[in-house]
């Protein structure tokens, strides 16, 4: 497919193929648009809004919006950075995120975004919701304290694993991740080899007994801020 669509992101000319979303075209061009619920290979979800950009002056989520010729996209602006910061801070206070003893620390996309955005401590009040840890499966656990409802496990289970292990139940404030079983994860057909297990951006869905096997300093985000891979991949191409 020819890259015959031309548009701009923050004034930079970007070539894209028809049908690409803004986030895909940006990524191919070495421009990082922050994201959480977006995962290449999955159908777009548009749930977290962290990828919000302005297209021709109107806010939209870059992971769902297809590119169009001549589109003018704003990405790295003060206004959008502030919005994304707020969204990430809200995610922190809506759950129970104790980075200092979470095994996903250094691997966690939410934490990495907070670092990239320079968030030291959220400005909102913590809500400290009462949430459960589902340890019923022999090899996988779900810690609802850390779930940010991105739906990556839900979609991966359906679209990649051909299963239907996870689903959302409830609406609005009541919305939460559930499993498709009467009881708990142990009663589903989830397997530790499922792609869904690795789809979680935070420490909510984890393979058991891995814990802190990777030392501090050698974890993915210890040295390189999130998004650097996208930004430097393009630099190498140039």
């Amino acid at each position: 497919m020819a890259n015959d669509i031309s548009f701009t992101i923050d004034g930079v000319e970007v070539a894209a193929a028809p049908g690409q979303t803004i986030i895909e075209a940006a990524e191919a061009a070495g421009i990082y648009i922050p994201r959480l619920c977006h995962k290449p290979g999955l159908e777009p979800f548009g749930g977290c809004r962290v990828c919000t950009v302005k297209s021709n002056g109107r806010p939209c989520s870059a992971c769902t919006q297809p590119v169009a010729p001549g589109m003018v996209v704003e990405n790295d602006t003060e206004e959008l950075r502030a919005l994304r910061r707020d969204l990430v801070e809200l995610l922190f206070v809506e759950g129970n995120h104790f980075c200092m003893f979470c095994e996903k620390s250094g691997h966690c996309e939410l934490q990495a975004l907070a670092y990239r955005f320079g968030i030291a401590a959220p400005r909102f009040d913590y809500t400290w919701p009462a949430r459960q840890v589902d340890m019923s499966h022999p090899d996988i656990l779900v810690d609802h304290n850390r779930c940010i409802l991105c739906g990556r496990c839900v979609r991966t289970s359906r679209q990649v694993d051909g299963k239907n292990v996870f689903q959302f139940v409830g609406r609005g404030h009541e919305k939460r991740l559930a499993v498709n079983a009467e009881a708990d994860l142990g009663a589903t057909d989830a397997a530790v080899t499922d792609a869904a297990v690795g789809a979680c951006p935070v420490g909510a869905l984890l393979k058991k007994r891995i814990g802190f096997a990777t030392p501090v300093g050698r974890r993915p985000y210890d040295e390189r801020p999130i998004g650097t891979d996208i930004e430097t991949a393009a630099a190498r191409k140039e």
Binding site: F98, M100, F101, E103, Q132, V133, M135, S136, P138, L141, G186, K208, R209, I210, G211, F212, A213, T214, P215, V216, G217, R218
Partner: protein, 477 residues
């Protein structure tokens, strides 16, 4: 009747509160030290995965997180059937532990204790702090800072971070010591050993030069508890439990850590969130004991590093070969352990096992385990139950400060008897109570170590329980 109210506690660090109770004749009858306890944490971890414990428990304390890290992981080693560690794993953990001991003891001695010892307990409080030491004895101030920093670098090289590291994992360790990390630590090791020696000399000269004061300052005879190595050597990382009485008679020896509940029970008192551990054989009234540096020097047969062993011999000579029961001798004992720790660090840095790559072992799963370590402040006990789904279902911690609970109360009562005049809390009383408590280096000072201040509140009650006086000192000074 006036009663003291303490807020229910989930905080991990706090300040000390002392109540002094008088009898009908307004003589000191009893002293009670109230310290923030950790029960909130024991509930919090229920239902969480076991491998998280060694990292999660570090939230208990900002000053000795490594001790909790290692006590918890020793329990988890047994949960995964991996208690026979590889040489690399065990030595890395020991290095971490000696680093922690070195930095914690140095911090306590130079930042908290030395102002009292150098300037006198009653001296001007504005000068009697770490800044005063830095001004009057700049070399000493510098040593304290650099020794602490060195210990922290050891922790970073083994745990990954200076605080809240992740190095020790169930059945082993997640990294070895790189050649670069080793060489960086070797640069200053000789200097650190020398400073360890001079710190022992300082504490020894102080103690021997003030024996008359020390004999009468918050001192009392007690039992002593610690773990010791199979051959009776001091071992801060691992060993069987040994308890001795005030004369040095063994009450039990080389007791399997898993069976601590056969010999130690905890008494609950209505007025304290902190429990009162005691040796079951002696009962709650007589079974309380001391832990920490003084207890460890008293319980062990010898120290397996030459410089610290020579220092220990001098120490034992000072008390005529009997256990030393002087509260102020804690400082001397603490510095002997500091020297021992840095000698151990030096040996380990030259040990090729630390560059090994065999890091983790696993075996048959267990559902219950105990991990005991000698933390800087004394014996630290972690006890867990873990179900088949890897969930922690029970957690019981007996921290060093709790083990020293009754001893600190005795020390405070003894000092109060001597320095209380009338029914008013004087500045002098406040200072002396603080010095007595500080000898035990309780963790109530965790939050304020960095400032060199221990917020302390003293309340005086008459026989009818009426509040007579209240004085506070701390952060604001």
């Amino acid at each position: 009747m006036t009663r003291i109210v303490i807020e229910p506690v989930t905080r991990v660090e706090g300040h000390g509160k002392v109540s002094i109770l008088l009898d009908e004749g307004n003589r000191v009858q009893q002293a009670r030290l109230h310290v923030v306890e950790f029960r909130g944490f024991e509930r919090f971890v229920q239902g969480r995965p076991y491998w998280e414990m060694p990292v999660a428990v570090q939230r208990l304390c900002g000053i000795c997180p490594v001790s909790h890290h290692l006590a918890a992981v020793k329990a988890m080693d047994r949960i995964v059937g991996g208690e026979k560690l590889t040489p690399t794993a065990e030595k890395m953990r020991r290095l971490m532990h000696y680093g922690q001991m070195f930095q914690s003891h140095a911090l306590h001695f130079f930042h908290l204790a030395s102002p009292d010892l150098l300037f006198g307990f009653g001296s001007d409080a504005r000068k009697r702090n770490v800044l005063g030491v830095a001004a009057a004895h700049p070399e000493l101030g510098r040593q304290g800072i650099l020794m602490r920093k060195y210990g922290q670098e050891v922790i970073k090289a083994t745990a990954g971070k200076k605080i809240h590291g992740t190095g020790a994992i169930p059945g082993g360790i997640n990294k070895n010591l790189s050649i670069a990390e080793r060489d960086a630590l070797l640069v200053d090791i000789a200097q650190m050993v020398r400073w360890g020696e001079s710190a022992v000399a300082l504490a020894r000269d102080y103690t021997l030069g003030n024996l008359e004061l020390a004999v009468d300052f918050g001192s009392f005879e007690s039992n002593h508890l610690s773990i010791v190595r199979a051959d009776g050597a001091m071992d801060l990382y691992d060993g069987g439990l040994r308890a001795i009485d005030k004369d040095g008679n063994r009450l039990f020896d080389h007791l399997d850590n898993q069976r601590y509940r056969d010999v130690i029970a905890e008494e609950v008192k209505s007025w304290s969130y902190m429990k009162f551990p005691f040796l079951i054989a002696l009962g709650p009234a007589a079974g309380w004991y001391r832990v920490g540096p003084l207890a460890r020097i008293n319980t062990c047969n010898f120290i397996d590093t030459p410089k610290a062993e020579a220092a220990r011999k001098e120490f034992v000579k000072a008390s005529g070969g009997k256990p030393n029961n002087l509260t102020l001798a804690y400082h001397w004992a603490r510095m002997i352990e500091t020297l021992h720790s840095i000698e151990k660090i030096e040996l380990l840095l030259h040990d090729k096992d630390l560059q090994g790559t065999d890091l983790v072992v696993k075996g048959d799963r267990r559902e219950e385990a105990v991990g005991i370590i000698e933390a800087p402040r004394g014996t630290l006990i972690h006890h867990y139950k873990v179900d088949r789904n890897d969930r922690v279902t029970m957690c019981n911690l007996i921290v060093s400060t709790t083990n020293n609970n009754e001893s600190m109360n005795r020390a405070v009562a003894s000092v109060a008897r001597k320095y209380l005049s009338g029914v008013e809390i004087t500045e002098g009383l406040l200072n002396h109570v603080e010095v007595a408590i500080r000898a035990y280096d309780p963790c109530l000072s965790c939050a304020t170590h960095a400032l060199g201040q221990m917020p302390l509140q003293i309340e005086l009650f008459d026989a009818a329980g009426r509040l007579l006086d209240r004085k506070c000192k701390g952060m604001a000074q």
